[in-house]
């Protein structure tokens, strides 16, 4: 527990470096995915644009949504947003802070994908090869072709082995031109995103620092509270299960002892720890009966107090003496068998 707390504290206090590490890993994963992907331009007039722009824009969307899905705090945000107000007011600033920080982290992988795609140049080359300015780059002396024919020829630019328009416009010239445009767009995009990130980060302390500290503290509090509650519930469930099972075994042994003709075996003089753990079940038949009834008919989820005198352990629930009048309805609920 202590070790867990220390690690937890370290991660929480040095959250900056932890988050930087996560962002770095996601960026690398995105770049790796792109290099593993086998890009195949269709080299057909209308399909090129759809394919090129699709590869440029659809995976980033998927990565963005994945970023939200994989973030554990999304369910925390949803819970905090949808819970009834009750005795605790809801602070929209906290919700906004949580959403913004999640969105920021989810944007890293898509940004890297788009940057790498643009800097590589294959997507833009594929998508816009039919829009190359043939008048400026191509051979002026070539006889003019119809629009359709021109588009068909230009669409084959990315596929060098089937390109047949070398007289119209040289393949290398067109590819160099398109790649130059693509890389320029890529670097501009990178610069834009970096500037945006810088502005977001540096303008915040200038304007809303106090509100920011508040939102950060309370969003962190909500996170810790949820985790601690889960922890407490787990501990409670453990104790509950332990007592329940203990009472089951005791009930079994008293039950069987009562139904048998002979007197219950007297416990040996030296009640060691091991004998105590046997919980009164000391032979094969009893044990088998215990296991069978555990499977067939699990005990109700209700722990009676340990000193409660009941002849028939769990087989019939005797009612403990009432000291205060209580509504019958609740009694039935508490004693319902599961």
């Amino acid at each position: 527990m202590d070790k867990f707390r220390m690690v937890f504290q370290f991660l929480q206090s040095n959250q900056e470096s932890f988050m930087n590490g996560i962002c770095g890993i996601m960026a690398l994963a995105s770049a790796q995915m792109y290099s593993a992907f086998d890009f195949n331009c269709p080299c057909l007039p209308r399909y090129n644009l759809a394919y090129g722009l699709g590869i440029l824009l659809v995976p980033p969307l998927i990565l963005f949504l994945l970023g939200f899905v994989l973030n554990n705090n999304v369910s925390m945000l949803a819970e905090e947003w949808r819970r009834p107000q009750g005795q605790r007011g809801k602070d929209p600033a906290v919700l906004r802070y949580m959403f913004c920080s999640m969105a920021q982290r989810a944007m890293i992988a898509p940004t890297v994908w788009v940057s790498v795609t643009l800097l590589d140049g294959k997507c833009i080359t594929c998508a816009f090869c039919t829009s190359v300015p043939v008048e400026t780059l191509g051979n002026a002396s070539h006889p003019s072709l119809s629009q359709e024919e021109m588009k068909r020829v230009l669409a084959r630019i990315p596929c060098k082995d089937i390109y047949d328009g070398q007289e119209l416009i040289a393949n290398e010239v067109a590819i160099r031109y398109l790649r130059c445009i693509s890389q320029a767009l890529g670097w501009c995009f990178v610069l834009l995103m970096t500037m945006l990130a810088f502005l977001v980060r540096s303008l915040r302390p200038c304007f809303t620092q106090a509100a920011f500290l508040k939102s950060r503290y309370w969003s962190h509090y909500i996170d810790i509270e949820r985790k601690l509650f889960d922890e407490t519930c787990a501990e409670h469930a453990r104790s509950f299960a332990k007592v329940c099972i203990q009472q089951f075994f005791e009930g079994m042994s008293t039950d069987l002892a009562a139904t048998r003709c002979h007197l219950p075996r007297k416990a040996p003089a030296d009640t060691g720890e091991a004998t105590e753990k046997l919980l009164g079940i000391t032979d094969q038949v009893t044990m088998n009966t215990a296991l069978k009834s555990w499977h067939r008919c699990k005990p109700p989820l209700h722990l009676h107090s340990p000193a409660c005198p009941s002849g028939n352990g769990w087989a019939g629930e005797g009612q403990p003496p009432t000291h205060t009048p209580a509504p019958r309805r609740e009694v039935a609920a508490y004693y319902s068998r599961v």
């Binding site: 206090s13 005795q87 540096s202 407490t232």
Partner: protein, 298 residues
């Protein structure tokens, strides 16, 4: 665990080495990015200059901004600068010192990029091949001006059909690369000399002020970290108390409605404590429902 605690303490006290580490990583990332980047000059008259100079100057700006973003101290400095005076005076010397050290670290990666670009030579060849004087090179002296421009623009592209095996192309290329590398090495030499002088001559001026500024900037940084740590610890304790209080109030409520006595059995004492008086399914369900629908007030 002891080692872990030591590392933790080390990071806490020596934020300078963490920042130096980040700075080094960014410089390495810059080198890696350049080697991975597929430089392809467009070999067209006006596009060359734009592309070449763009590749030389735009990534350094992005790297500089990255250096500022990744540096934790920049936030600390901004906060210190913009905070209301309150009961603690603001020392401009400390803020200046922090700003200076942040800028210093942020300029390492861009400078590395520019130096690599110059020493490699491709950018300058691409950008300035059209600006070379054609009279100096045999192959370009006899063509018309427009043609010369076109040909010179194609110099960076070795595989172009016009330029393959063209000795004049190689001559121009070598000439430009020589200039580029000379520029690169000169800049490197100047920077190193400047850094050397700065380090050596600094103790001669205002050493006391410098020590003070360094101490207090370090202090502000550590104070910020410890405040965040304390907030974490505090929120944890707050949550713990809140949840215990919630369980307790549920137990009170159940005691009011229930008729079973609470016995203090010795065997189950420990478990009783943990069970908080909540001992069956309905009670647990009710507790969980209450937790969702009516969280306790803070």
């Amino acid at each position: 665990m002891d080692r872990f605690r030591m590392i933790f303490q080390y990071f806490q006290s020596n934020s300078e080495s963490v920042m130096n580490g980040i700075c080094g990583l960014l410089a390495l990332a810059s080198v890696k990015m350049y080697t991975c980047f597929d430089f392809s000059c467009p070999c067209l008259p006006w596009y060359n200059v734009a592309y070449g100079l763009g590749i030389m100057f735009v990534p350094p700006v992005a790297l500089f901004l990255c250096g500022l973003i990744l540096n934790r101290q920049s936030l600390v400095m901004l906060e210190e600068w913009r905070r209301p005076q309150g009961r603690r005076k603001k020392d401009l010397a400390v803020i200046r010192y922090m700003c200076f050290s942040i800028m210093q670290r942020a300029t390492v990666a861009p400078v590395v990029w520019i130096l690599i670009t110059l020493l490699d030579g491709k950018c300058l060849i691409c950008a300035f091949s059209s600006s070379v004087d054609p009279e100096k090179f045999v192959g370009f002296a006899n063509a018309s001006p427009v043609q010369v421009q076109q040909l010179l623009a194609k110099v960076p592209c070795k595989d172009d059909e016009l330029m393959r095996n063209n000795t004049s192309r190689k001559a121009v290329s070598r000439y430009l690369r020589c200039w580029s590398q000379a520029l690169g090495w000169s800049i490197l030499l100047i920077l190193i000399v400047a850094a050397f002088l700065a380090r050596w001559l600094r103790p001669c001026f205002n050493q006391a002020t410098l020590l003070q500024a360094r101490h207090w900037s370090n202090y502000i940084d550590i104070e910020q970290k410890i405040f965040e740590e304390t907030c974490c610890e505090h929120s944890r304790l707050f949550a713990h108390k809140c949840i215990l209080h919630f369980f307790e109030s549920m137990r009170q409520e159940i005691k009011l409605h229930s008729f079973s006595l609470l016995r203090e059995g010795e065997r189950a004492a420990e478990e009783e404590g943990l069970l908080q008086g909540i001992t069956d399914q309905v009670q647990v369900n009710k507790l969980l429902k209450m937790w969702y629908y009516e969280k306790p007030p803070l």
